[in-house]
């Protein structure tokens, strides 16, 4: 039926009157997206791979030269870059762990019926829907040393969260946790509600404690979806730029994406930046791959 519909034009249809087949219409819907994707994604991706082997600088008109692997060599032996990677790793671990913990915890609390559950769930999802720049500015105010509510509530005096080199990175991570825990919560809720109620009843009859039921039944059944949340959040956290950039200028909070931005658009070292972007891409791919492998293993069990 479907193939018939695609190849033969219903003579009574408006499309026929216009001389368009279903195939034409289908292509009309797809082609703009494809063009957009190719122009703004695929093409720059390939082009930047080319640039990464040159000393091209976007703000100069003089001709560029092919430099082979020099960019990569310089980058990988640059201690400064490595310290950026270590900062990023710390940030990813703290913020993703925090999100998984808070998000899954919230999901456990929400996974029962209580009045206004829908409203509360929606409210909890709000942070995720805000623009990262807005969130960054908003938390900058919350952290403000002299009159910020956080120091006031916790009685921290004039502790400067964002300009203290030791705390800046974690302050940003806390903001990221606030913003993205709802995402983990949403996925976890989906996973939790998919655990059949009769299994909990069977466990209650079998006199299993809450903890035993949780570790033996709930956790194994939601672990695949938790892993998916973990993959998404790790990828995103690795690439964090906006929140950190709006919140702090501390070098101890200079994530790899910020370093990349500075190199590309402040130092106009375009070729080298492209190489760095590729190094980041390969790292993210590698980490994701590990997760996916593990996810498949979990699913098979």
């Amino acid at each position: 039926m479907a193939s018939v519909a695609l190849t033969h034009l219903d003579p009574a249809s408006r499309a026929a009157a216009r001389g368009w087949s279903d195939l034409t219409i289908r292509n009309l819907f797809i082609i703009p997206t494809l063009v957009f994707l190719i122009v703004f994604n695929i093409f720059p991706l390939i082009y930047s791979l080319g640039y990464s082997f040159t000393n091209f600088a976007a703000n100069r008109s003089e001709p560029w030269q092919f430099v082979g692997l020099q960019n990569y060599r310089e980058l990988l032996s640059d201690d400064h870059i490595w310290s950026n990677f270590i900062i990023t790793a710390k940030y990813v671990i703290v913020s993703v762990a925090g999100q998984m913990f808070v998000g899954f915890g919230l999901a456990l609390l929400l996974n029962r019926s209580f009045p206004m559950k829908g409203l509360i769930t929606t409210l909890l999802l709000l942070p995720m829907m805000m623009s990262a720049a807005v969130v960054g500015l908003f938390w900058q105010l919350l952290y403000s040393p002299s009159w910020g509510p956080i120091n006031y509530v916790f009685g921290l005096g004039d502790f400067a969260w964002l300009s203290n080199p030791d705390s800046a990175l974690y302050a940003v991570a806390i903001t990221d946790i606030w913003m993205w825990s709802p995402f983990v919560m949403l996925l976890s809720l989906a996973g939790l509600s998919a655990v059949p109620q009769h299994l909990y009843e069977a466990a209650a009859i079998d006199r299993a404690s809450w903890w035993y039921t949780f570790t033996r039944i709930t956790l194994p059944l939601v672990s695949p979806i938790l892993l998916i949340a973990l993959i998404f959040r790790t990828m995103e956290a690795f690439k964090t730029f906006d929140i950190a950039y709006t919140m702090t200028t501390q070098p101890t909070a200079e994530l790899i994406a910020i370093r990349l931005y500075k190199q590309a658009f402040q130092q106009w070292d375009t070729g080298k930046s492209c190489a760095l972007a590729y190094i980041v891409l390969i790292m993210v791919l590698a980490i994701t791959n590990l997760y996916v492998k593990y996810l498949n293993k979990v699913k098979e069990r």
Binding site: E201, A202, D206, P220
Partner: protein, 361 residues
């Protein structure tokens, strides 16, 4: 092992009343079958005993103790459900060990091993112990789920239609096995089913549930031979009891609107059966005979051959009634035949209330 009593239980779910004033007593070591149609309140009754639901009114007693405030774990019951409820991703052995391993009441390893081995032997699932549960057939899964109940040695076994998802052959086999298991363990069983054959073949006692009320409790024979009302009469037995409207005139059943007459013996002894009062006469198909010289003439409406016997549907005017006859009896559709019934086996019900005159007292 335990004695269970439900006193005046009413259970409402929002506006819907699932059980009304239910009284039920299950003796220690008894195989009690709760029989009823879908939605009669069987599962609700079971869940109330298990502690998964709280009654709106009334009390649940286990061994004479009111267990209202007890959770499912404290009641020490085992529940076997129709959908097996095996723990996914675990092997059969891990499933059987599950109820024995929670920290607070963890048994010594040797004891766990012993109990699992014994349960597996009893249910003949020893060869499956190391298999994952999602790779089992329906019958194997149900055995494992029964196994998970018996390793615990609970006070009561509650079974919610455990056999209805299985195919006919397997159901028959497991029916016998379950009954044997119960006798072997000497345990109290409450078995819920909509299948009257299961009820008749397994139960020491059967409770018939209709719209949240217990209609009749008794041994399978009592329920079968002496149903309390027309509901029980038509629900229990396959094919069900014939129910024909009529009146009693001088110890003879006079049917209306199709008039034919048959004798009723002992019917008059029921006392309240005054002549002329509208009644319903109930007769089991196996108590209807086809005979050459019998008093009533009928036409064969339909014949169902069941191998060992035939179920013949007879038509007298507008009235249909079924008779079970030996398979060798030669009958053809639309053939005129004559029939009679066993006058001792006729049960009379009041037309208005549907209650048997024998029970009305």
């Amino acid at each position: 092992m335990a004695h269970i009593e439900l006193k005046n239980i009413t259970k409402k779910f929002g506006g819907h009343t699932a059980l009304t004033g239910l009284n039920l007593e299950i003796a220690d070591g008894e195989f009690f079958v709760l029989l009823g149609e879908t939605g009669a309140g069987k599962t609700t009754t079971l869940r109330l005993i298990a502690g998964l639901e709280k009654p709106t009114e009334g009390q649940v007693f286990i061994d004479g103790v009111d267990v209202a405030s007890w959770g499912a774990a404290e009641r020490d019951v085992a529940l076997v459900l129709q959908q097996y409820s095996l723990y996914p991703r675990y092997t059969v052995r891990e499933n059987l060990e599950f109820p024995l391993k929670p920290k607070i009441r963890r048994l010594p390893d040797a004891e766990i091993k012993d109990r699992v081995a014994r349960a597996a032997r009893t249910l003949r699932i020893e060869h499956l112990l190391d298999r994952k549960t999602d790779r089992l057939s329906g019958g194997e899964m149900q055995r494992v789920s029964i196994g998970r109940a018996i390793v615990r040695k609970p006070r009561v076994f509650l079974m919610d239609e455990p056999l209805s998802a299985l195919d006919a052959k397997l159901r028959e086999a497991l029916r016998t096995e379950l009954k044997n298991l119960q006798m072997q363990l000497g345990a109290t069983f409450l078995f819920v089913t909509h299948d009257q054959i299961e009820a008749m073949s397994m139960g020491d006692k059967v409770g018939v549930l209709n719209h949240g009320r217990i209609v009749q409790t008794g041994s399978p024979q009592e329920i079968y031979n002496n149903p309390r009302d027309t509901y029980v009469a038509s629900f229990v037995g396959s094919p069900p009891m014939n129910l024909i409207d009529g009146k009693l005139v001088d110890d003879r059943a006079v049917m209306a609107p199709t008039s034919f007459e048959l004798p009723v013996s002992g019917g008059a002894k029921t006392g309240g059966a005054t002549d002329g009062r509208p009644l319903v006469f109930g007769i089991r198909p196996e108590d209807v005979y086809l005979e050459g010289g019998a008093p009533v003439e009928a036409k064969v409406h339909d014949v169902e051959n069941h191998g060992v016997e035939k179920i013949v549907t007879l038509r007298v005017g507008e009235t249909m009634l079924r008779a079970t006859v030996p398979a060798r009896t030669a009958v053809e559709i639309e053939q005129p035949v004559r029939f009679a019934w066993n006058p001792d086996k006729v049960v009379m019900f009041d037309k208005g209330s549907g209650v048997s005159l024998r029970h009305a007292g």
